[in-house]
């Protein structure tokens, strides 16, 4: 009570405090000044920009998106020719960024977990090897690594002719300075049944998992969900494949003149970017995984052994779930870093978002619009990823009292 009286007495006093010493009033003045300063800066900047653009004869606005782009893009996952609009070119770049980021995140996570576990291994050779990997790769700039893979490794591979490939012969696998050549899968009539079977099996697997979990909760009996699902996933599509009369064929790459034609080609720019991004990010993920596992107290392992769990089950059921809580937040920021770092593609000529918008900028001169859009896209990607990971994080977080 006495405390509260003191507070109210103090509050009454505030009328007598001079304006300069009243924190509330000072805060208001300070914030008002901040708003005025920021608005003034924005106003000066915008009016300068309007003047400069008017003098350079550049019409601001997003009308240029509808115009013909007129440049080619080496790799595209949506139909694109140099007759397409700038808008379509922009989406091609965005698609390329998303594809390389998604595949890069997959490989970085897999390699990162393996290396992180290897650093904790009791095996001397494996542990030292993982340590050297992590310390080397994370202390060298990513851009340097990308350039190294692109210019010092992939570009000095021999040409298809120098590899000794026979002209016209089918090539199942070839890595040369034009890229990595693999057979392309060509679907024919009836192949959609295989796809439907695959999707059906995946849905069944998911439902089966939920059912098995419910049953285990109720009765304690376990069901081999993983083996069943995997078996079905392999057997059923194969069965459909043979029943429908093998409606899938492979198209091989062949050497014609100096060039390779047909087949499925992975371009050197894409490979260099993917290699660089995944190996570099994996070295950071490895450290995160290691720290996460070390953060689980050793008592947990001992407790699991005391309950009679075997080492494999101990890691799977006791250690990893607890480590994941520590691992996921920094893992999120690594995924974001990888996505943002994919913009370094511009240095090795992979047509990602920054590279495509850079070309658009050079052609149209619409610097403000193009750069703002690019930044906005990355900002949106960042916010979406962190929102998703926050949701995922809260779903694995410890529920405390």
């Amino acid at each position: 009570m006495a405390h509260q009286e003191g507070v109210s007495a103090g509050a009454d006093d505030s009328g007598r405090v001079s304006f300069m010493n009243d924190p509330k009033a000072r805060g208001l003045v300070f914030q008002a000044l901040l708003i005025i300063a920021v608005m003034a800066m924005v106003y000066i900047g915008v009016s300068n920009a309007v003047n400069n653009l008017a003098r350079a004869g550049i019409a601001s606005g997003f009308d240029f998106f509808g115009e013909r782009a007129g440049f080619d893009i080496g790799q595209s996952f949506i139909p694109y020719t140099n007759d397409s609009t700038y808008l379509r070119a922009f989406f091609v770049g965005l698609g390329n960024t998303l594809v390389v980021a998604a595949i890069g995140i997959f490989f970085a996570t897999v390699i990162g977990f393996i290396v992180g576990l290897a650093r904790l291994s009791k095996n001397y050779l494996v542990q030292k090897f993982a340590t050297v990997y992590v310390e080397t790769l994370r202390n060298i700039p990513l851009l340097l690594q990308l350039l190294f893979w692109y210019k010092a490794v992939l570009s000095i591979l021999p040409s298809p002719r120098a590899m000794g490939l026979e002209p016209g012969a089918n090539v199942a696998f070839s890595l040369n300075n034009r890229g990595l050549y693999l057979p392309r899968i060509v679907p024919e009539a009836g192949s959609s049944f295989i796809l439907f079977t695959l999707i059906a099996v995946l849905i069944f697997w998911f439902v089966l998992g939920r059912w098995a979990r419910k049953r285990q909760m109720a009765t304690g009996q376990q069901f081999p969900v993983f083996l069943t699902g995997l078996g079905l996933l392999i057997v059923l599509p194969l069965l459909v494949f043979f029943v429908t009369g093998m409606p899938v064929s492979l198209e091989y790459a062949t050497l014609q003149g100096f060039n390779m034609v047909d087949g499925w080609v992975i371009q050197p720019e894409f490979m260099a970017l993917l290699l660089g991004l995944s190996l570099y990010t994996a070295s950071f993920i490895a450290e995160i995984v290691r720290a996460g596992i070390l953060a689980v107290s050793h008592g947990q392992t001992e407790a699991a052994y005391a309950l009679g769990l075997r080492p494999n089950l101990t890691s799977r059921l006791v250690i990893v779930p607890q480590a994941m809580r520590v691992i996921i937040p920094p893992l999120t920021s690594q995924f974001l870093n990888l996505t943002k770092n994919s913009s370094l593609a511009v240095a090795i000529g992979y047509p990602d978002l920054v590279s495509v918008t850079g070309t658009v900028l050079n052609q149209t001169g619409q610097a403000v619009e193009v750069i703002s859009i690019t930044m906005l896209v990355y900002l949106t990607l960042s916010l979406l990823t962190s929102a998703f990971m926050n949701w995922f994080n809260s779903s694995v977080a410890l529920v405390e009292r």
């Binding site: 805060g27 300070f30 914030q31 901040l34 708003i35 920021v38 000066i44 900047g45 915008v46 300068n48 920009a49 003047n51 400069n52 653009l53 003098r55 291994s121 009791k122 095996n123 001397y124 050779l125 494996v126 090897f129 310390e135 080397t136 994370r138 202390n139 060298i140 700039p141 990513l142 851009l143 340097l144 690594q145 350039l147 190294f148 210019k151 010092a152 490794v153 570009s155 000095i156 943002k340 770092n341 913009s343 370094l344 511009v346 240095a347 920054v354 850079g358 900028l361 610097a367 403000v368 750069i371 690019t374 930044m375 990355y378 900002l379 960042s382 916010l383």
Partner: protein, 377 residues
């Protein structure tokens, strides 16, 4: 009664002869068994790793040392068949890699700036050396001014335009300016983000999240292409300064988050104690909160600096010649073009970056151990 008289035959009267420890415990064999072949899975892993190593190491050693070309005048020496790394290229271009096109007779100024930097860095890095506050002021205020005078050429020194700068010099200038500017800005942003004033807080959150959400390369594009548009007619910055502005804003957002981490780790009692002593907000921050918070986040600051140091290589994309940029530019020198030149140049640049970053990360780990006094919260 009979058995009482029996001698207790199972008690030894002499020590039994010592047997050697089993093979699997002591000596080289024991070490091998325990560290390499403990389980069948370990054995397989060991063999696989070993095979991988003997597949990768001999060619690398051969390339870097045995078949490498150490001396040479031009590409002729490096395009001999079977030649490894072309170190002669690095030797011939070393001056450029360090200073760029900085005039030869003025390079002592770069060296002197480097010495001044080392003179400030060494004492602040050793925890037991006193006068930390003065030392920090030297590094954050006095040294940048001196280096600016020396490098650009003020007060009668011959002016050297920034387009002539290059190599490691530019790398260090970008990284150090980035960190020196981002430090005070980061402190302000971190304080602003924890402020009670909603508008200040909002501005800081938007600023920090914006810069953290976009890639540095777009920031550099923005500062090199978009920034000139927002300046009044006739005012123009040189290219290096524009890149520096971008890098400084970008890194201050990251620095702010590191410092905010330190502020959050300070117990509430410290703030209350500062208030109880009738210290104003700024006095309390300066005398009570910041010294503790900053000390706690030294490893984080060093890690931010490592990241910034690596990221400086991105300035080559907007046409500045930092270490990586100048190495890449020299690779196309017709006098030195050879199949091994790119790999040699990149390995050299990687080695320089590695030395700096690895050194800093070791220091950060050392500070982490020092600061980890067992009072984990």
């Amino acid at each position: 009664m009979d058995h009482n008289t029996k001698s207790i035959a199972y008690v030894r009267t002499q020590e039994s002869p010592k047997t050697p420890p089993p093979m699997a415990v002591g000596g080289v064999g024991g070490w091998l068994k325990e560290n390499l072949f403990a389980t069948p899975r370990d054995t397989v892993l060991t063999i696989l790793t070993f095979l991988f190593l003997i597949w990768i190491i001999p060619p690398v050693v051969d390339w870097a040392f045995i078949s490498a070309v150490w001396d040479g005048e031009s590409r002729e020496d490096c395009i001999v068949p079977g030649a490894g790394a072309c170190w002669a290229f690095v030797e011939a271009k070393f001056g450029q890699f360090m200073y760029g096109r900085y005039p030869l007779e003025e390079r002592w100024r770069v060296n002197l700036s480097g010495l001044l930097l080392i003179a400030g860095l060494v004492p602040i890095a050793i925890p037991s050396v006193p006068y930390k506050r003065e030392n920090a002021l030297y590094l954050l205020i006095v040294f940048p001014v001196l280096a600016f005078i020396l490098l650009t050429g003020q007060f009668g020194l011959q002016p050297v335009e920034t387009p002539l700068w290059g190599g490691l010099l530019v790398t260090l200038v970008v990284a150090i300016v980035g960190i020196v500017v981002s430090f005070p800005l980061g402190i302000l942003l971190a304080l602003g983000r924890r402020s009670d004033m909603p508008i200040v807080k909002m501005f800081c959150v938007i600023f920090i999240e914006f810069w953290r959400g976009v890639p540095l390369i777009t920031v550099l594009f923005m500062s090199s292409v978009m920034l000139p548009l927002f300046l009044p007619d006739g005012v123009s910055f040189d290219k290096l300064l524009r890149a520096l502005i971008g890098v400084a804003l970008f890194s201050s957002a990251y620095m702010a988050e590191v410092i905010r981490g330190g502020l959050q780790a300070i117990p509430k009692g410290q703030y209350e104690a500062a208030n109880a002593m009738a210290l104003t907000f700024w006095q309390g921050t300066r005398l009570v909160i910041m010294p503790q918070a900053l000390k706690m986040v030294i490893p984080g600051i060093v890690n931010t600096f490592i990241g910034l140091f690596k990221d400086t290589s991105l300035v080559l994309i907007i046409g500045l010649f930092d270490l990586l940029g100048i190495v890449q530019q020299n690779m196309t020198d017709p006098n030195w073009i050879s199949p091994q030149t790119p790999a040699t140049g990149f390995v050299f640049a990687a080695f320089v970056f590695f030395i700096f970053c690895f050194g800093m990360s070791r220091y950060s780990a050392y500070m982490e151990r020092r600061l980890d006094t067992g009072h984990k919260r």
